[in-house]
């Protein structure tokens, strides 16, 4: 391990591995784009003719057919797919069929709002998860035991219900924030709470399980026998090794945050990616949906890649545990 040749060989192997991972990531994103296209194309109909068929519009079928042809929607599916894909690989996301506006502009409009929400929700989730974990290990048993049930409870409540209740109490009853000013600090905070609660449950579960596990380790017993207090043992010894796996869980919950934002944004009236998806789904606006799915896939793949690469650096034990599989793969 310590010899120079060994290290450079390992570095070369790691380089090859990284390149392969990257290629796979790109493939996953492209396939997600194609997958969305195929799924949406299952259903006959398209956003253009759907709008025209609104009975108030009074269009004849011939008129509708002419307009649909303008958007190229009368082409065979595979022609449309090849066209969309060749645009996508050069970074052109196309034009929204619903709004006639460029998809990239639409995404740029809504992305900041969702990033703020997801970021705040993650923060809420982490704080909540660590608070619960702390309580479970440090509070007296009559309080700690019910606290253990919290993650499970959080995972059993539909998140729209949390949102509805929060709005009802904190906006309409207490007047703490205005629903029409969805981007204000407090409005964002409460939306983040609604979105973060189910996510906190997943983090808390892993955290509590790890804490329980670490607490049974020899070193913890030794520390206890030396007369270390509960809280001190928690912060000084148990917390760090137990929180490392949280990195991986957080990476996996990124998708959850994006998915959950669909509901949270609708309830809190935030104009974010989830809301854009809602509008686009209702009208089958394929270019927008494809772009959003691809974006979500990019985020997921990147975050997990980073978590995956960073994790071994944080926890030396994991490198020892996990490396055999990797070493095998690299040397194969």
């Amino acid at each position: 391990m310590s010899s120079t040749t060994n290290r450079s060989a390992a570095r070369r192997a790691y380089g090859r591995y990284a390149v392969r991972r990257l290629a796979q990531a790109v493939a996953v994103v492209l396939l997600a784009y194609v997958f969305t296209f195929l799924v949406i194309s299952v259903l006959p109909g398209d956003p253009v003719s759907n709008v025209l068929r609104d009975p108030q519009n009074n269009f004849s079928e011939q008129e509708i057919a002419r307009i649909v042809a303008y958007y190229g929607l009368d082409q065979p599916i595979w022609v449309q797919l090849v066209e969309a894909l060749s645009r996508f690989v050069v970074g052109d996301l196309g034009v929204s069929l619903r709004s006639n506006l460029p998809v990239s502009g639409l995404l740029a409009d809504v992305l900041p709002s969702t990033l703020r929400l997801a970021g705040a929700a993650l923060a809420v989730a982490l704080v909540l998860a660590f608070a619960i974990a702390f309580g479970v290990r440090n509070l007296p048993a009559p309080l700690a035991r019910p606290l253990r049930a919290f993650p499970s409870l959080f995972l059993s409540v539909p998140n729209f219900l949390i949102g509805l209740v929060l709005i009802q109490w904190f906006s309409f009853q207490l007047g703490l924030f205005l629903v029409i000013d969805a981007e204000s600090l407090l409005a964002t905070f409460f939306a983040a709470v609604a979105l973060g609660i189910p996510v906190s449950a997943q983090i808390a579960e892993v955290l509590i399980a790890n804490l329980d596990h670490e607490a049974r380790q020899e070193y913890a017993a030794v520390a206890r026998s030396r007369g270390l207090g509960r809280a001190r043992l928690f912060t000084a010894h148990l917390l760090k090794p137990s929180s490392l796996p949280v990195v991986t869980v957080v990476a996996l919950t990124v998708g959850e945050l994006l998915g959950g934002s669909l509901i949270t944004e609708t309830i809190f009236g935030r104009n974010g990616v989830g809301n854009l998806v809602q509008r686009s789904v209702a009208t089958q606006d394929l270019p927008v949906l494809q772009a959003v799915v691809a974006l979500a896939a990019v985020v997921f793949v990147v975050v997990n890649l980073v978590a995956d690469l960073v994790y071994p650096l944080l926890d030396p034990r994991v490198r020892l545990d996990a490396s055999p599989a990797r070493t095998k793969e690299v040397s194969a």
Binding site: V51, L52, Q56, L178, I180, T266
Partner: protein
């Protein structure tokens, strides 16, 4: 965007509300039964103020011709743009940008005289050339550039010509009595010729769409909000509105809040002034709390079922007639709606010029309905459902997704008809699926629930039969000579005096044959308003106009 109030001011506002409560409730009652225009009893108009209007959606695209003017976007277009004529809630046509008009004897040629000095917000004149450009794009669109025609513009249009700066002559291949009223319809909005010449992608940016209305776009975000500010040099409002010069309000913000309950609660807690489409059952409660409730009617068909006469069991006129008298319309009004809704008296709304009262034909009479079904040979079985030759007396209703109350109404109708021995199934679809699967004269669709506005009763002629590409709502084709002839006579009439008696006869005939089974008069656009909002007017298609509105202290 300016955020209206702090919570503290809000509470003060509520105290004032309480005292004004009774008065406001009375005002609502008076205002709505009169057809939607609210009493102006709120004192002197106040200058300034910002009004926030919470809306379900901002629709799809802002390309003017392609936008869903019939639903949400019409609110914004109505403030950004003007029309050639104004049509009030009684269908009365009055001058606006067109000062006067003439027609030839057979209603195939019209001459419009335009008001002088009207300008678009970019300073260019609204002259004859601009009007011709608009008429052309309404009638034909420009499909190569991705611009649709306006679906309801008369298909008989030939051409328009500028005779001088302020005179436009318009020609049609056939009598088109509906042309002038159509100019007041929500689709016929005047847009600057420069905008009309731009490609669809540019027109899709609302900020590029130049109109001549009392407001201009200050800012907008796709799918989220549109902020309008008043135009200081506006001075060509329709006379019918009783207000000259610029609007009172400084800004008008349309903000999307998708949840209906959040919209109403936001108005209740003083966070916004107007909530669109509150649920009808809540209106009474909010009315009692002192909020203003408006349920203006549009001009158009009533809410009801167009019956497919080729589909069993409705291929028998007696079954259709049993349906006609078997539905308890009063129970629908008292359960699903409030007093702001009116019973149907025909299959067109009673405020449409030419609509006549046929409520005798629509009286609830379960005995008569049962007798008709007995006579038609439908016998009640042990499970309460009638059968004939082994067939059950059943059919499916498809609630209209464009009308929020449609499902509740259909559920109630199913409940009522069950007592007569019908087995009614309800299959509701979302807007997309509804468009795909539910259509008129479709062999698998026994009833089509109609919600459609129009501005001229002549529209009726185009839906009854399949003559002249008619929509054939009842799937009778041209097999009913009486219906075909009446439709023909309505279509070719050259004056309303000539047309009205035919329309009356037509309404009686359609209801008697139970081709159309009306439910209630429709109020598709509902508004819940803070009592501070005064002076709102509603046009013939039930859009609230805040040009005349102001905020009381």
């Amino acid at each position: 965007m300016t955020i209206p109030r702090s919570p503290r001011r809000l509470r003060a506002g509520r105290a004032a509300t309480a005292t004004a409560g009774l008065l406001a409730t009375l005002m609502v009652a008076a205002g709505c039964s009169a057809g939607g225009t609210q009493s102006q009893a709120g004192g002197e108009p106040q200058e300034g103020g910002d009004l926030v209007f919470l809306i379900d959606s901002l629709g799809p695209t802002w390309v003017p011709n392609n936008s869903s003017i019939s639903s949400f976007q019409g609110h914004i277009w109505g403030h950004l743009t003007d029309k050639l004529v104004y049509v009030d809630e009684n269908g009365t046509v009055s001058p606006w940008v067109a000062e006067s008009w003439d027609q030839n004897e057979d209603a195939t040629q019209f001459t419009l005289k335009l008001k002088d000095g009207v300008t678009f917000s970019d300073g260019s004149p609204v002259d004859a050339a601009a009007v011709v450009a608009n008429l052309d794009i309404w009638a034909r669109g420009d499909v190569e550039r991705g611009i649709n025609p306006i679906g309801l513009f008369p298909k008989t249009y030939v051409s328009a010509e500028a005779l001088d700066d302020l005179t436009v002559q318009v020609d049609f291949v056939a009598p088109t009595l509906g042309f002038i009223p159509t100019l007041g319809y929500h689709g016929s909005i005047l847009i600057s010729p420069e905008t009309l010449a731009a490609p669809a992608e540019e027109q899709a940016d609302l900020a590029n769409d130049i109109g001549s209305g009392p407001f201009v776009v200050e800012s907008w975000t796709e799918g989220d909000e549109v902020v309008l500010k008043k135009r200081d040099d506006y001075d060509w409002a329709p006379e019918a509105l009783d207000h000259d010069g610029p609007a009172y309000l400084d800004t008008l913000t349309y903000k999307v809040v998708a949840e209906p309950s959040v919209r109403t609660a936001a108005v209740q807690s003083g966070q916004a002034q107007v909530a669109y489409n509150p649920s009808p059952q809540e209106l009474e409660f909010y009315g009692e709390q002192g909020f203003t409730v408006a349920a203006p009617r549009y001009l158009g068909f009533v809410n009801g079922y167009a019956i497919n006469t080729q589909v069993a069991p409705f291929d028998d006129v007696r079954v259709r007639q049993a349906l006609q008298v078997g539905i308890d319309r009063d129970e629908i009004l008292s359960t699903v709606y409030t007093d702001d809704w009116l019973p149907a008296a025909s299959f067109i709304q009673s405020n449409v010029p030419g609509a006549t009262d046929h409520s005798d034909a629509l009286v609830h009479d379960p005995e008569a309905a049962a007798a008709l079904l007995d006579e038609a040979g439908w016998v009640e079985g042990s499970d309460g459902v009638r059968t004939k030759d082994g067939q059950r007396l059943s059919f499916t209703l498809h609630p209209n997704p464009y009308l929020a109350t449609s499902q509740a109404v259909d559920e109630l109708v199913a409940q009522q008809l069950a007592e007569l021995g019908f087995d009614v199934d309800i299959q509701a679809y979302d807007v997309i699926t509804f468009g795909e699967r539910v259509s008129f004269a479709n062999p698998s669709i026994p009833t089509y629930e109609v919600t459609r506005s129009f501005i001229d009763a002549g529209t009726v002629a185009g839906v009854l039969t399949d003559a002249e590409n008619g929509e054939n709502w009842f799937n009778v084709g041209q097999s009913d000579p009486t219906l075909t002839e009446l439709a023909q006579d309505v279509a070719t009439a050259t004056t309303t005096e000539e047309r009205d008696p035919v329309l009356d006869e037509l309404q009686g005939y359609v209801l008697d044959r139970a081709y159309f089974v009306p439910l209630t008069q429709i109020a598709q656009r509902l508004y819940l308003q803070s009592p501070d909002v005064q002076g709102v007017t509603y046009n013939g298609v039930a859009y609230a106009n805040y040009y005349t509105a102001w905020l009381a202290e």
